[in-house]
Every structure is written in structure tokens, then in C-alpha cells.
């Protein structure tokens, strides 16, 4: 350009010189030396440039512009110039074109690259596809310009400047598009030579979706950005989201996780089968990366769990039906039910999640209507609409609701697809003169279609080469393969493999169903998607149609993507989640009798049925009293079975042996290992803690063991262990009381202050009993029931049950809370004291004649009284302190009951009748011996 080397000049001389007047003039002025004129080959006029630029925008190189592989960008040829433009001016004019073209080209390269991965990364591929559509849209603008250019043909010369102005939105769009692809998929991926993506499919999908989502969130705030960035983003976003939605659809409506590329935000844990109790918790897990961060698109964060649960619930329901199906063999009705269940679930019974999503989108963007609710009432709406149309013949009305068009299209498409026999001839016939002519005849005689089918009629007759084949393969061999025909049959192709044959046959049948007469190819209109031509495909044209619609639509407003997703997808997902939740809840409450099962658990573990374990407990209590051994599992169980059989509540359990008891030996072993002294282990065996060793097992039936699982039973057992202590304390105190009555003529009357201790202990235990019944047994249960009624999914049911468990645990002081532990230790001490008191009384009763024993008993009684007073003082002080009780109002109730007649503590909170409470004791008032 500026630096013109001599050869170039000479070249010009050689090739470019002409003998025009101007040249001669120039030569004369410059003394023969030619003017440094540009190469004529590089000279161009603006018209040419415009065309080249437009071509470049479409991705084609030309004389003036080329694709620099190194720099990965379009470059203009060195030295081009236009006659009436300065070089800088030209450069300035060209640079936006170059930039835009480069962007578009790079995007194109990305698309190509992405396509090579499309097999493994559906979302990436969908993203690439929609990018491609958008790219095509952008380039179409350039194409149209070029067409116009050709057509107008000199009528008006388009200048570069004009072009720059008229294509400014294209430039912006191109840049945006490039930027978005860059950001959505890392640049390294775009640039890298390797065909490996370091990210997993899920990570990549999430990255793309999140990026688009975030961009959308930013862009939606800006009004009418240059080059419709919002529109582009929403287009890309919708496109990219479709594979995700499709996977979700099969998960939400069929309970099938078809995710071969592992893109979803959760995955199946194959080690857990559906009939295992841990199914609910561990069968489907949220995908996490190494840093334990959930891999989930932003907008699914909130409803992710619900989605997973819905699918699992579906699986559970289906599993039950399968089981029933297997067991009852009433296949048809159940088939029908399953079908029913799933179909009902879908919107209008047929629309898939993506259908709903797309139609809603159109409704939202084009018609500015929240149509999901209308969608549910579709037939009515459409009828009304039709009526309106008939009455008013109002076209506007129709136009306004373009989503309705899409919807009816879709519905027709689907219903057609479902009934392939009633083929829509029009779809087949368009542009096919042969069929158009024969249309009527064909329609009258569907049987003749078979004949027309070339694949059938062009079949070759089988060869009678049986002998030959027999010679080659041998008879036996052929038998083993169970060949249908003996000779070579070309109907089946040249096949030696059954599967291959079937596959081919299936393929052919599929083709026939898609395109009735494959020999007569329909005419393909330009710009039509393949799916639009193959009308009987289930996954029909809707997605492409709507995407196209959106691409061409004029967006009225830019909505927050959160809102868009909520309106178009969230509502539908929520409906299905609710539907499934309701379904499984119906099952739980109805067929599976959840409440009944929980009631049984309550009867057993919370001792609700006083009778079920009464005999067992009395026997065990008596054994403990006598110091008899009671650690034989078998014997315990037989006592238990006896007790259940003789109980009035035996009908609660299906079979007496559905409840079993076992002894946890771990503690015992440990202690013997530690060589603890005899007395200690003895007191452990027969003391108030004796029942800690017992573990009751109730077999919860499937699928309720998802809710009352092993962990839950463990908690139940803990609570029960505590309640049994209370029971035992009550038992021994009752017994002491009976002694007192029976000993009314004895001289022991003098032991009046024993009476007070006894009264205190019994009152405490009674109050506790009452409290437990009130709080644990009734109130907690009522909360559980109302919680269950209010819950809408299995997850919530599990949660409600967990809350119930932890609340009864807290109420029974077996929770691991620090304050609880403090309180629990005091209460346990008191219960232990009850037992001690009983033992002293027994000693006094049986052998307490000698002074020494009497004295010892007296001191023991005094100790019991002191400890009791300490404990009660502590409890009352702690529990009546509002700050402590605030979180646990039930504790206040306990205080009320213990101190009902203000014996221990006055109304104003002063301790009475008990030794002064000295703050927080440094050491616990009671150390177990």
C-alpha cells in the first residue's frame, strides 16, 4: 500500500499499465517515472467491497478478505483500496465488518467443534444447535442484503457506510454471540486442538446453563439492548435447556432417569435397590464435584430435591404396582392403571414437559399471558375461543393467542402420531402428484398400500439353495439357529445373524411408518425442518417451530429469566411434583396405612398400649428384683411373645413375633473387660439402667420402612428405654406403697418421714408419667398427625416423622443436647433413687430387725432424701427459668405437674421445703455408685 516495492511497481507497469490519458499525463509529469499508483488488481470499487463484506459476514472468503488461520480471524487483503476512500477511512469502515465476521466465523468453528462432541454432551450439542440457528439468522441478514444488492442492481449503490449503519445490529449481535459462546464454554475448549473436554457432562451442562441464566439476569434489566441481546440469550437458553427438560420429563412423569451422558444434577446409586429401606435416602444422589459443591443449574437449586423425590415416589408407586402385577396377574387392569396414572399426570394428558415449557414461553412472550392455568383447562378454553371465533369472526383474537395455535398443532400432531392408521393424507400428498392423483383410490383401499410399498414389492424371491447351504453350514447348525427359512431369502437381506435381520426389518418398518411410500419421495420445501416433513414422529416439530417463532418474534418485554422459568417450567414441574406427592401420600395414608403403622410404633415404643408389654415387664421387673438372670435372648423373646399373645392389643401386631427383643451385649463385654467390680456390673444389670440393654425390633413393612427406618427405630428404642425406667420406678414405688398399706398395723408407722420421701418420689414419677403421656404420647402424636395431613410429599412426611422423633426424644430427655443431658441425669438419678428406696424398704421389711441394719437403712433413706431434694431443686430451678424453658415449653409443663400444689416452689419461684439451691453445683449431686 504505502510501501510500494519496485517489483510491485513494475508489476503494475507490466500488467496494470494502460495507455490512458491520465497515465500519460502522469508520466509526463513525473519524468517517465511512473506515479506510485496502487496496483490496479487491488483497486476496487465500493460495490465490490460491499458484496465481499456481505459474503465475509456469511463466512466466505473473497478476493478482499481471507481467513487467517494463525490469528484465527478475518483479514483484509493487503493493499486493497477504493478509489474514493482514504486508506484510513476504508480501514475504519471495514474493521467492524472484519470483527463481526471474525466473531461469526469463530462461532461457526465452535459449532463444528461442538458437533464432534455432541454424542456425549447433549446440552453442549443443543447449545451449539441453537447457536447455529442464531448464527444462521445473523448471516441471513447479510444474505438478504446481498440478495437485495443483486436485485436492485445499480439502481442504488449501497455504500459501506450505509451498510455499517444498517448492519449495526448484526455487528452487535455477532459480537454478543461470540462473547456468549466464549463465556458459556470456556475459550480453551474453543481454541484447544484436543478433542477432550476436561469437564464432565454435568459440569459442562451446568456451566452453559448457568452462564446463560446469569447473562439473562443481567441483560433483562437493560431496555432494548443493541442487537437484541436479550432475545438472543433467551433463544440460546431455551434451546440449550431442552435436553435437560426432556430428561426431566421422563423422570418426572415416568420415574425413569434416562441420562446416559450423566448430565442431570442427580444420579442413580445402583447399589441400592428399590426395596431397601435406604432407597429413599441413597438411591438418587445429588451430583457433587470434588469440592462437594452441588452441580446443579442455579434455577433448579430450590426445587432440585423436590424433583428427585417426585421421581422416586413414582418409582415406589410403580414398584408396588409391578409387584401386584406379578402377584395377581391381572395384567390388563394394572397396565391400564399405570398408563392412566402417567397420562393423567401430564398436562392435558399428552403434553410433555418441554411442550408445556415451549408453549408457555410463547404465551408469555408473545401473548404476555400466564397461560399455564389456561393450559390445564385447555379444552374448555379452546371451545370458548372457537365460539368466539364463530360468533365474532374475530381474527385479532386468534392472532393474539398464538400459543393456542401451537398447542392445537401439537395436540393434533400427538394424537395423529398415536393413531398412525388414520394417516393424514394431505401431509403425505403435498407436492407429490402421483399420490395426489390416486389419493381417493388409495384412501378407499388402505389394503392396497401394502402393494405400493416398494420395499415389499421389490422383494426378490427366495432362492432354493437349501442343498448348498446345508452343505456349507450343516443341518444341525442351522437348527440351532432356528432359521425361519431354509434357503437364502433376500427379503431378509444377506443375513446370517438373527439380530441383524430383525434390526433391518425393524428399520424398514419404521421407515414405512414414517413415510408411507418411501419410493415416492415427498417434495422438500426449502427451510423446512426435517421433523416437519416427517409428521408421525412423536417428538415432533414443536421445539423447532417455537424456537423459530421466538427467533423471528418481536419481543415486547424482557423478563427476568427467573420469572420465565418459574412461569413456564416451574409451574409445570411444581404441578407434577405436587401431583406425584399427592399420589404417594394417598398411597401412604390409604393403601400403605402409614398412620396405622406409626400408631403401632407408638403403641409399642411409647408404651401406648399399656397391655402389650405389661406381662413382659412385670415378669422382668420381678426378675430384676430377685436378681435372677434375665439375659437370655430366647427366654426374653418367649416371655415377650407370651405377653403379646395374652394382651388385649395383640391384634395390633400382625403376628406376635413381629416384635422381638434382643440384648445389646456390647456394654456388658466392655465392662467385664475392664474388670469392673462385681457390684458395679450387678447394679448395671439390675439397676435402673438395666433396660438400656434391651433393644426391641419391630419389622416395619415395606415401603413404610423408608420412613420408619433403622435409625428411626433406634431413636424409638432410646425413648422406650427411658420410658421403661419410669415404668419401673412406678412399679417399685407402687409396690412399696402396697407394703405400707398392708403393714398398717406394723410398728413401722413410726417411719413417717419415709412416707414423705415415698410421697415425693411417687409424685415425681406420677407427674412424669402424666407429663410423658400428655406431651410425648398425645401432643407429639397430634402434631405428627397434623403434620402428615399437611405434608404434600414423601420427603415432607419423612421430615415430619423426623421432627416427631426428635421432639419425643427431647421430651424424654434422650436428645444429646447439653442442657437435656443435665436434666436427664437428674431425672435418671431420681428414678434410680426410687429403686434404691424400694430396696431399702425391702431390706427393712424382710430382715430389718437388727439395729445395725436399721441404722444403715436410715442413713440410706436420708441419703435418698437429700439427693432427691437436690435433684428436684436443680430441676425446678433450671426448668422454671424462662430462658431455659423458652425453647422447650414442654419442660414448663413438667414443672407445673411436679410442683402442682406449690410444695417445692412457691408461685413466685422461691424454693420451699427443699434445701437451698446453691447455684450450679460443681459436682453432680449424684454419682452413680
Amino acid at each position: 500500500m504505502y510501501q510500494m516495492s519496485c517489483p510491485a511497481v513494475q508489476d503494475v507497469h507490466k500488467f496494470g499499465a494502460d495507455n490512458s490519458f491520465i497515465t500519460k499525463l502522469n508520466l509526463s509529469i513525473s519524468n517517465g517515472l511512473p506515479h506510485s499508483i496502487p496496483l490496479s488488481s487491488l483497486k476496487t470499487d465500493e460495490h465490490e467491497l460491499v458484496r465481499a463484506v456481505l459474503q465475509m459476514l456469511q463466512g466466505f472468503s473473497s478476493n478482499f478478505f481471507y481467513w487467517d488461520l494463525k490469528l484465527n480471524s478475518f483479514r483484509s487483503e493487503e493493499g486493497i483500496y477504493a478509489s474514493h476512500l482514504s486508506q484510513t477511512g476504508l480501514k475504519g469502515l471495514l474493521s467492524p465488518f472484519l470483527l463481526a465476521s471474525t466473531c461469526l466465523k469463530r462461532v461457526e468453528m465452535f459449532i463444528k467443534k461442538a458437533e464432534s462432541f455432541s454424542q456425549k454432551y447433549p446440552t453442549l450439542s443443543a447449545f451449539a444447535n441453537s447457536v447455529h440457528s442464531w448464527l444462521k439468522g445473523l448471516r441471513d441478514i447479510a444474505l438478504k442484503k446481498e440478495e437485495a444488492l443483486c436485485k436492485s442492481n445499480n439502481a442504488k449503490i449501497t455504500t459501506l457506510l450505509d451498510l455499517v449503519n444498517s448492519l449495526s445490529s448484526l455487528f452487535a449481535g455477532a459480537e454478543h454471540l461470540y462473547q456468549v459462546t466464549n463465556e458459556a464454554v470456556s475459550t480453551e475448549f474453543l481454541n484447544s486442538e484436543k478433542n477432550i473436554i476436561s469437564l464432565t457432562a454435568a459440569e459442562l451442562a451446568v456451566k452453559i446453563l448457568n452462564c446463560l441464566f446469569n447473562k439473562l439476569t443481567q441483560v433483562c434489566l437493560v431496555r432494548d439492548g443493541e442487537g437484541d441481546p436479550y432475545k438472543m440469550l433467551i433463544f440460546l437458553f431455551i434451546g440449550s435447556l431442552l435436553p435437560y427438560i426432556q430428561t426431566l420429563d421422563s423422570w418426572l412423569y415416568d420415574g425413569i432417569l434416562y441420562d446416559p451422558f450423566e448430565e442431570m444434577f442427580f444420579y442413580a446409586n445402583s447399589s441400592v435397590s428399590i426395596d431397601q429401606p435406604s432407597f429413599w435416602e441413597t438411591s438418587y444422589l445429588l451430583r457433587q464435584n470434588n469440592a462437594k459443591i452441588m452441580i446443579c443449574p442455579l434455577f433448579f437449586h430450590k426445587i432440585g430435591k423436590a424433583i428427585i423425590s417426585a421421581g422416586k415416589s413414582l418409582q415406589l408407586v410403580q414398584h408396588i404396582q409391578d409387584q401386584n402385577f406379578v402377584s395377581t396377574q391381572t395384567n390388563k387392569t394394572f397396565d391400564f392403571e399405570i398408563q392412566n396414572l402417567n397420562n393423567d399426570a401430564r398436562v392435558l394428558g399428552i403434553l410433555t414437559l418441554s411442550d408445556v415449557f415451549l408453549i408457555s414461553l410463547v404465551g408469555l412472550f408473545h401473548d404476555s399471558a400466564h397461560i399455564f392455568d389456561h393450559l390445564l383447562k385447555y379444552p374448555i378454553e379452546i371451545n370458548e375461543n372457537n365460539n368466539n371465533n364463530n360468533n365474532n369472526n374475530n381474527n385479532n383474537n386468534n392472532n393474539n393467542k398464538s400459543w393456542l395455535d401451537f398447542l392445537s398443532d401439537t395436540i393434533q400432531g400427538i394424537t395423529k402420531a398415536k393413531t398412525p392408521n388414520s394417516m393424514d393424507f394431505d401431509a403425505l400428498c403435498t407436492g407429490n402428484p402421483t399420490i395426489t392423483v390416486c389419493k381417493e383410490i388409495l384412501q378407499k383401499t388402505p389394503s392396497s398400500w401394502e402393494e405400493l410399498n416398494v420395499s415389499r414389492s421389490s422383494r426378490l424371491p427366495p432362492l432354493n439353495d437349501n442343498m448348498l447351504r446345508e452343505a456349507v453350514f450343516g443341518r444341525t447348525d442351522l437348527d440351532a439357529r432356528s432359521r425361519v427359512s431354509d434357503g437364502t431369502d433376500f427379503q431378509l437381506g444377506f443375513v446370517f445373524d438373527e439380530f441383524e435381520r430383525f434390526r433391518l426389518e425393524n428399520d424398514r418398518k419404521a421407515l414405512e411408518s414414517l413415510c408411507a411410500f418411501p419410493t415416492l419421495l415427498p417434495s422438500f420445501p426449502e427451510d423446512k425442518h426435517l421433523s416437519e416433513i416427517l409428521p408421525f414422529q412423536k417428538d415432533s416439530t414443536l421445539a423447532s417451530k417455537i424456537l423459530k417463532f421466538i427467533q423471528n418474534m418481536k419481543l415486547k418485554n424482557s423478563l427476568d429469566p427467573q420469572v420465565v422459568l418459574q412461569e413456564c417450567l416451574g409451574a409445570c414441574i411444581k404441578r407434577q411434583v405436587d401431583h406425584v406427592g399427592k399420589n404417594i401420600l394417598n398411597k401412604l395414608m390409604g393403601e400403605w396405612r402409614l398412620i396405622d403403622e406409626l400408631f403401632i410404633l407408638r403403641s409399642i415404643y411409647l408404651l401406648g398400649s399399656g397391655d402389650l408389654l405389661q406381662q413382659f415387664l412385670v415378669v422382668i421387673f420381678n426378675r430384676l428384683d430377685k436378681g435372677d438372670s434375665w439375659d437370655d435372648d430366647f427366654e426374653l423373646n418367649s416371655i415377650l411373645q407370651d405377653s403379646i399373645r395374652n394382651s388385649s392389643d395383640r391384634t395390633l401386631l400382625n403376628a406376635p413375633d413381629s416384635l422381638t427383643v434382643s440384648i445389646l451385649n456390647e456394654n456388658l463385654n466392655e465392662e467385664t473387660d475392664k474388670n469392673l467390680n462385681e457390684r458395679n456390673s450387678e447394679s448395671n444389670n439390675f439397676g435402673i439402667d438395666a433396660f438400656d440393654k434391651l433393644s426391641f425390633t419391630y419389622k416395619v413393612s415395606w415401603p413404610l420402612d423408608l420412613i420408619a427406618n433403622r435409625e428411626a427405630l433406634k431413636k424409638y428404642n432410646q425413648v422406650m428405654g427411658f420410658l421403661l425406667k419410669v415404668k419401673r420406678a412406678k412399679f417399685v414405688l407402687d409396690k412399696t406403697r402396697k407394703w405400707r398399706w398392708k403393714g398398717r398395723s406394723d410398728a413401722q408407722q413410726a417411719h413417717k418421714h419415709h412416707l414423705l420421701i415415698e410421697q415425693k418420689l411417687l409424685n415425681f414419677v406420677d407427674a412424669f408419667h402424666q407429663y410423658v403421656m400428655d406431651q410425648v404420647y398425645h401432643s407429639a402424636w397430634r402434631e405428627l398427625c397434623s403434620g402428615l395431613e399437611a405434608s404434600s410429599s414423601l420427603d415432607e412426611v419423612i421430615e415430619v416423622h423426623e421432627t416427631y422423633l426428635s421432639s419425643i426424644q427431647r421430651q424424654c430427655f434422650v436428645a444429646s443436647d447439653k442442657l437435656m443431658a443435665l436434666i436427664a441425669s437428674r431425672i435418671k438419678t431420681i428414678l434410680g433413687l426410687a429403686l434404691d428406696f424400694y430396696n431399702v424398704k425391702q431390706t427393712l421389711r424382710t430382715g430389718g430387725t437388727t439395729q445395725a441394719i436399721k441404722a444403715r437403712c436410715e442413713t440410706e433413706i436420708n441419703r435418698i432424701e437429700k439427693q432427691f431434694d437436690d435433684c428436684v431443686a436443680f430441676l425446678l430451678k433450671i426448668l422454671s427459668f424462662k430462658l431455659n424453658v423458652g425453647h422447650f415449653p414442654h419442660l414448663g409443663d413438667l414443672v407445673t405437674r411436679i410442683n402442682y400444689n406449690y410444695f417445692y416452689m412457691s408461685d413466685s419461684g422461691n424454693l420451699l421445703n427443699v434445701p437451698k439451691f446453691e447455684g450450679k453445683p460443681k459436682t453432680p449431686a449424684f454419682r452413680p455408685a
Partner: protein, 600 residues
């Protein structure tokens, strides 16, 4: 282990209420009149085996023993539609059929005569049960058979089944109407002694109150026995419902009673039931809730115990314990709320010497019996005001005894032969001590009552502790003087203080010279009084109670009183020191100073 309970119904009244009880149980358990389970009674969940057992042909037989000395009532049962329900081997009617003539002594004596026959039946039933928990005795305390024979059975049961619980449903006579049984005070007193000493729990069914409730609450002008008995059967069945429909707690008798009866003697329970309806009273149906039921149960008018006993000294009367058995469609969350409300409103006065509370047992209800009310409740309460009922018994006994009326009828029987009426006196002492124990329960110092600090005095602790409380009663003596009789508790001792208006203060004197002061038969003691007399106001009540606290002081011989205390005539609190012995010089060696606390 069904924890069986054997019911023994004695006498006319006992058999009548027993009959009603069994009718009710049959209804509730869906057992037909012939003992066969009704077709609809399939729900289960109940323990029929507590009160019934099944014969080989599966029909249910009540664990009941029917005893009477005259055949009328039992014949009635035998000819009623329930004739096939009972095991006829369990029916005892005396051969002569002459009854007990409303004479306790006769009933007791006849019981003694046939003890083997009766106990044979009891033993047979007891052996037939797997884990016998106890006996329930239904009887009245006024007549002859129920009281006399019942008393004997009580003693025998206590003797032979000393480990089993004995609960009685005892019907107390109607005090308001003149009874056809004139010796009812004697009978009651003698029976009460056995109830005090030989029963573990007595559910007091006061005919006075039952009548009142029938009149007032049920609007019956002339309640029949059948109607009052239906009240009784309601109470009886309700009080056993936790045993028959076992729930979370109170599913055995001992557990039920243990918290109700803290001390061995104070085991007399009042009952209350609400809402009460008899048939055809639809207009009386109201909305029932837990709070409503619990509140009504505390109202005097709903309590099946003489109202005069309840209203008298109501401010001092205290609940020792309460158990409410609530049946029906209960909202369990309301229980605690109701308890708190009751506490806030101070509707209950509890003892102060120990912790006490209202226990609430929520019980299932029979699915086969339809009641118009959603919630119904029974209260079993140990209330100190019941002592007024006993005091009334004593006072009517005293009146009768003073006249020596009808004593001859009793002298015919061995126990009272040779004019040995010590049984009466002993019974009276027992009841008096019971009264004073209940009275003592009202004071915060009950625990100290009856026992001295053992460190202080060995003499006092060695003395019979029951000596301490004295109750007094005012009456007009034949000379026109107002007198106060003082009763100690355990050992029968009376001193009579003539109330001289001009002196204002009773003057201690022996009432019965035949039976002078004695503390216990083995010991001779002399007493000196140091007393503090409190006159909060001019006495308007019929009754004065005096508590005397023993102080150890060794005193030599006797002194004649200077009558110091007589000088203090002001009707306000006085502290008098009285050092006068009222004792024959012959029985002197130990001296005590007694602190007299007079409270009007």
C-alpha cells in the same frame, strides 16, 4: 397376666349395686345377658378377663361371689334375665334365709359360722385366676348382712390374702331421712372400723349425696333405688375402665390406687361423676370438654359424698390426691391446659405437707355403649373433708350409745356377750383416730404428726403415737350444761369439759368414770396439761377440735390445779399454763405436760 379382680357382693345393697355393675360391664364389653359375646362385639382391645373368665363353652362368667343371708335379692337375680350370667356355685344364701335383722353382730356372727363355706368359694375363684390382683367388696355399712358379714369377710380376706388388694365400694346410709334401720349408727361404726383397718381402699358411696345428686342433678323428685344404683354402677364401671381398657398408665389396680392413698388409713375415696344423665333427658345434654369436665368434677354438687361434709370447714379441707378418669373423645392437649387453669383459679386446695397433684387418666371408652356426651369424667379423690362423714357417724353413735339404745340386740352375740361393749369403744377409737388423722392431713405438719423427734424423748415415741389428736364435740348434758367431749384417737379416752359461760373456757373433767384416762392398757400415766387456747372468735360451729401435743416432762406425782387457766376469759388467744392433773392418784407416776390447742 390378666390381673384378675374378684368381686364379692354382700347383702341386699351389695348385691343390688353389684348386679348393676355387672349389667354395665356386660354392656360395655358386648357380653350378652347369658354371658355369650354379642355378634357385634368384635373390636377387641379390651381386657374382659379382669372381671370375667370364660367357661368351656366360651361364655363369659363374672368373677363374682354373691352372698346374702336372706334370699330376696339373690332370688331376684336368679330369676332375672341375667340368671345365666353368674356361676351359681358362687352364690351363697344362708339356709335359714332369715337375714341378719339389720344387726351387725348377727351378720358378723353368721359370717363367722359359715366362713369355711364362703372362703371355699373365694379360694376356688382365686385359684382359678392366674395373677389375682385383689378383691372388690360391694356392701352397705348400715344394714346387717353387708356390714356385719362384710366386715367378717374383710377381716378374713385381710388375713388369708394378706398380699392382695382389697377395695370396697361401701354405701353409706342416708343421713337426711329417718332410716328404717335404727341401729344404723352402731352398724356403721363397727363396719367403719373394719373398713379402716382391713381394706386398702374404700370408695365411699354416700346415699345422702347420691339422693341429692339424683334430685338436684337429674331432676328426679323421688329417686328410686334403681336410679341411685345406676349412679353407683356408673361410678364403679368408670373407676375400673383403665383396668378393662388398658392404656398408657393406671392399668393395674395398685397403680391406680397407689398415688391416691398415701397413708394406710386415709384410704377413703370420694367420687364424682359428670355429666350425669338418665334416659330420656335429651334437654340436659351439653357441650363437654376436658376442662369443663374437670372443673365440674371439683364442684361440691357433683361429688357423691354428703354435701355437709364438703361444705363444712371447707376452707381447711384439703385434697390429698385426685385422680380423674376421663373417657370419650378427649383432646389430650387440653388436659394440661385444664390443669393449669384449675391451678390458676385455685379451684383445688391441696395438702401442704407433701407434693400432690391431679392425675388425669385418659381412658378408652366402650365402643358398644353410646353416650350422648363426648367427654365424661370420674373423679376419685382423697379429701380430708370425708372426716366429717365419720364424725357424723360417731356423733350419731354417741347419741344412740348414750341412751344405751338397742344395745341388747348386740349383747346376744358372742362378741358383745357379758356386756362387753369394748368393741364399740374400740371401733369408736379407731374412727376417731381416723378422723384426727384426716384432720392432721390438713395441717402442714402432718409428717410430724404422730411422731416425736426421736432424739428428744424416748417416752413419747414409745407411747402409742395415735394418742395425740383429740377431737371434741359439744353437746348439752342432762344438767343443762354445755359440755365438750374430748376424744383421743387410738386408745379410747374421753374427758368432758363443761362449758361454763361465766368461765368461758371448758373445764376438763372425766366424762366416763368407768373408763378413766388410759393411754394404753399396759401403762399408767398421769397427765398434766400445759395448754394454749386460741379463741379466734366466738365459737359458732358445732364442733371443736383440740389437738394436744405431748411434751416430754417428767413430773412427780400429782398436783392440784390452781385453775389458772380458768381465769383467762377473754375470747382471744391465750396461752395458759395448766398444771393440774386430772388423774386419780392411783395412776400416777409419769407426768406429761400437754399443749392444748383449742381451735373453734
Amino acid at each position: 397376666m390378666p390381673r384378675e379382680i374378684i368381686t364379692i357382693q354382700v347383702g341386699q345393697c351389695g348385691n343390688q349395686i353389684g348386679m348393676e355393675f355387672w349389667k354395665q360391664l356386660c354392656l360395655e364389653h358386648g357380653i350378652g345377658k347369658d354371658g355369650l359375646l354379642e355378634d357385634f362385639a368384635t373390636q377387641g382391645g379390651d381386657r374382659k378377663d379382669v372381671f370375667f373368665y370364660q367357661a368351656d363353652d366360651q361364655h363369659y362368667i363374672p368373677r363374682a361371689l354373691l352372698m346374702d343371708l336372706e334370699p330376696r335379692v339373690i332370688n331376684g337375680i336368679k330369676t332375672s334375665e341375667y340368671r345365666n350370667l353368674y356361676n351359681h356355685e358362687n352364690i351363697y344364701v344362708s339356709d335359714h334365709g332369715g337375714g341378719a335383722g339389720n344387726n351387725w353382730a348377727s351378720g358378723y356372727h353368721q359370717g363367722e359360722q359359715v366362713v369355711e363355706e364362703i372362703m371355699d368359694m373365694v379360694d376356688r375363684e382365686a385359684d382359678g385366676s392366674e395373677s389375682l390382683e385383689g378383691f372388690v367388696l360391694c356392701h352397705s355399712i348400715a344394714g346387717g348382712t353387708g356390714s356385719g358379714m362384710g366386715s367378717y369377710i374383710l377381716e378374713t380376706l385381710n388375713d388369708r390374702y394378706s398380699k392382695k388388694l382389697v377395695q370396697t365400694y361401701s354405701v353409706f346410709p342416708n343421713q337426711n331421712e329417718t332410716s328404717d334401720v335404727v341401729v344404723q349408727p352402731y352398724n356403721s361404726l363397727l363396719t367403719l372400723k373394719r373398713l379402716t383397718l382391713n381394706a386398702d381402699c374404700v370408695v365411699v358411696l354416700d346415699n345422702t349425696a347420691l339422693n341429692r345428686i339424683a334430685v338436684e342433678r337429674l331432676n328426679l323428685t323421688n329417686p328410686t333405688f334403681a336410679q341411685t344404683n345406676s349412679l353407683v354402677s356408673t361410678v364403679m364401671s368408670a373407676s375400673t375402665t383403665t383396668l378393662r381398657y388398658p392404656g398408657y398408665m393406671n392399668n393395674d389396680l395398685v397403680g391406680l390406687l397407689a398415688s391416691l392413698v398415701p397413708t394406710p388409713r386415709c384410704h377413703f375415696l370420694m367420687t364424682g361423676y359428670t355429666p350425669l344423665t338418665v334416659e330420656r333427658q335429651a334437654n340436659m345434654i351439653r357441650k363437654t370438654t376436658v376442662l369443663d369436665v374437670m372443673r365440674r368434677l371439683l364442684q361440691t354438687k357433683n361429688i357423691m359424698c354428703s354435701s355437709y361434709a364438703r361444705t363444712k370447714e371447707a376452707s381447711q379441707a384439703k385434697y390429698i390426691s385426685i385422680l380423674n378418669i376421663i373417657q370419650g373423645e378427649v383432646d389430650p392437649t387440653q388436659v394440661h391446659e385444664s390443669l393449669q387453669r384449675i391451678r390458676e383459679r385455685k379451684l383445688v386446695n391441696f395438702i401442704e405437707w407433701g407434693p400432690a397433684s391431679i392425675q388425669v387418666a385418659l381412658s378408652r371408652k366402650s365402643p358398644y355403649v353410646q353416650t350422648p356426651h363426648r367427654v365424661s369424667g370420674l373423679m376419685l379423690a382423697n379429701h380430708t373433708s370425708i372426716r366429717h362423714l365419720f364424725a357424723k357417724c360417731i356423733s350419731s353413735y354417741n347419741q344412740l350409745r348414750k341412751k344405751q339404745a338397742f344395745i341388747d340386740n348386740y349383747r346376744k352375740f358372742p362378741m358383745f356377750a357379758d356386756n362387753d361393749l369394748s368393741e364399740f369403744d374400740e371401733s369408736r377409737e379407731v374412727i376417731e383416730s381416723l378422723v384426727s388423722e384426716y384432720k392432721a392431713c390438713e395441717s402442714p405438719d402432718y409428717i410430724k404428726w404422730g411422731m416425736e423427734d426421736s432424739g428428744k424423748s424416748s417416752i413419747v415415741s414409745e407411747l402409742d403415737s395415735k394418742l395425740v389428736l383429740i377431737s371434741a364435740e359439744r353437746y348439752d348434758d342432762p344438767h343443762g350444761l354445755e359440755r365438750f367431749d374430748f376424744f383421743s384417737t387410738e386408745s379410747f379416752r374421753v374427758m368432758s369439759l363443761p362449758c361454763r359461760p361465766e368461765l368461758g373456757v371448758p373445764f376438763p373433767q372425766f366424762h366416763d368414770s368407768n373408763r378413766p384416762f388410759f393411754l394404753s392398757s399396759q401403762r399408767t400415766v398421769s397427765l398434766s396439761f400445759s395448754s394454749r387456747v386460741e379463741y379466734p372468735s366466738i365459737p359458732s360451729n358445732d364442733e371443736i377440735s383440740i389437738s394436744i401435743q405431748l411434751n416430754k416432762r417428767r413430773k412427780q406425782s400429782t398436783q392440784t390445779s390452781s385453775h389458772d387457766f380458768l381465769k383467762s376469759t377473754q375470747p382471744l388467744i391465750h396461752s395458759l399454763s395448766l398444771s393440774r392433773s386430772y388423774i386419780n392418784s392411783s395412776i400416777s407416776s409419769l407426768g406429761f405436760s400437754l399443749l392444748l390447742l383449742l381451735r373453734f
